[in-house]
């Protein structure tokens, strides 16, 4: 099959994958807390209900921006699997995340605005890492598309253990997991922490949820890039990483945004940067 077909398959299958991962996540989290938890398909029921509910439009630009957030998040994955340049896809990814922050910031409410500010901090913390990661993957494999990286004989994770470590840290942010869930959380928290979505109702919230499912599938694709010997190996690595994320989520408390920014920049510079530097010094 050509890469374009993989891209189209991503558009169709990623929400199913992301929704199922979210369902498993909620069940496993509940079991960790000594509860039974909701049905496996609960995230789909939630989004279905949100689509049937009334949506309050606060201003004319929030909905277009949220639709943009969803489209660009889906496009990132489609472009990645469709054979576009790896570094280019990270910029589309950043644009998708930025649109969410802009949508929240467009609401004239203090909670929403604080959420938007925190989302921008999260963006500042995570995006430099993704660019460095893609650059490192390109450097190690000598390839610049998803398919070519998978065809490479080098196992990226062995060459880039520091990048893998930093990826786990940054994935915690992107998956909205504690202790880095400063702008939005999937726990039923009644605090400022869900500020980002506080003014979104009905289908507007459904767009955010759908985009998050695409994002989860996209992070899984990034994991496959790091474990590029086979897709099955990448999926298994994603499973292990996600289990670790759930454990971390249920055993840590939230930290302040300053520490989020500092710790991810340290991880980006020391682990990933050090890793890339070491490869150069070793003469690769």
């Amino acid at each position: 099959m050509t890469p374009a077909i993989y891209g189209l398959l991503f558009l169709g299958l990623a929400p199913v994958f992301g929704g199922l991962v979210a369902g498993v996540d909620r069940r496993v989290s509940a079991r960790m807390q000594g509860r039974v938890g909701p049905p496996l398909l609960q995230p789909f029921y939630d989004v279905g209900k949100l689509l049937q509910k009334q949506s309050r439009q606060l201003n004319p630009i929030m909905e277009p921006m949220l639709v943009g957030h969803l489209i660009f998040m889906a496009a990132t994955g489609a472009l990645l699997l469709g054979g576009t340049d790896l570094i280019f896809t990270t910029f589309v990814f950043a644009l998708a995340a930025l649109l969410l922050a802009l949508a929240a910031g467009s609401a004239n409410s203090p909670y929403s605005f604080t959420g938007a500010e925190r989302e921008l901090v999260v963006l500042l913390a995570a995006e430099p890492f993704f660019i460095l990661m893609m650059a490192a993957v390109c450097k190690v494999t000598g390839a610049n598309t998803f398919e070519a990286v998978l065809a490479s004989s080098q196992l990226v994770a062995v060459q880039l253990p520091g990048v893998l470590l930093a990826f786990l840290l940054v994935a915690t942010i992107k998956l909205r997991k504690s202790p880095f869930d400063i702008s939005i959380s999937h726990h039923p928290h009644q605090e400022l922490v869900s500020g980002l979505t506080s003014d979104m109702s009905g289908r507007l919230l459904a767009y955010v949820e759908l985009a998050h499912w695409y994002e989860t599938a996209l992070l899984c694709a990034f994991m496959v890039l790091l474990f590029n010997w086979s897709v099955a190996l990448g999926l298994a690595a994603f499973g292990v990483a996600y289990a670790l994320e759930i454990l971390l989520d249920n055993s840590t408390s939230r930290i302040k945004w300053q520490l989020v920014l500092r710790s991810t920049w340290v991880a980006t510079l020391v682990f990933s940067g050090g890793n890339v530097l070491a490869l150069f010094v070793l003469g690769r």
């Binding site: 909701p38 049905p39 279905g48 509910k53």
Partner: protein, 141 residues
């Protein structure tokens, strides 16, 4: 197909309750009762909520707040009054600042009796609330 039956999100508001009912509402979320089994989420945000769960009576100071929370909830929505105070004013009914039950200001769909209401009856009230939600959706759709 309707998803309201499977995903009722609740906004819990404490009027002038003694907190007895509030503790029982929170007990519903604990491992013993675990309402998340039914897809229930305690949202804390009126714009995400389907069911407004009120404990305690309305007083002079919180009338506007209760009305405002209700107004911010998107359609369809239902109100569940939990406990004797929310139903009728209860033991505080004749206090100088108390207006009475929640039905003085909002259209209440389900009344859950008890002082304090037991978690089992609160869950039962929410389930009846879901049925009312479903009816409202059919009317608006």
């Amino acid at each position: 197909m309707s998803f309201f039956r499977r995903s009722p999100w609740i906004l819990h508001y404490d009027g002038s309750s003694c907190n007895g009912c509030d503790i029982e509402v929170l007990a519903c979320l604990t491992p013993l009762y675990d309402v998340e089994r039914f897809g229930v989420i305690n949202t804390g945000n009126p714009k995400h909520a389907d069911i407004l769960l009120v404990t305690g009576s309305v007083n002079e100071r919180n009338i506007e707040i209760v009305k405002n929370l209700y107004r911010q909830m998107p359609e369809p929505k239902v109100v569940v009054a939990v406990g004797a105070c929310a139903c009728s004013g209860g033991i505080f009914a004749r206090a100088y600042n108390i207006q009475g039950g929640i039905d003085r200001v909002l259209p209440v769909d389900v009344y859950v009796p008890g002082c304090a209401a037991r978690p089992e009856s609160i869950i039962d009230g929410v389930v009846q609330g879901i049925a009312a939600l479903e009816e409202k959706r059919k009317k608006t759709a």
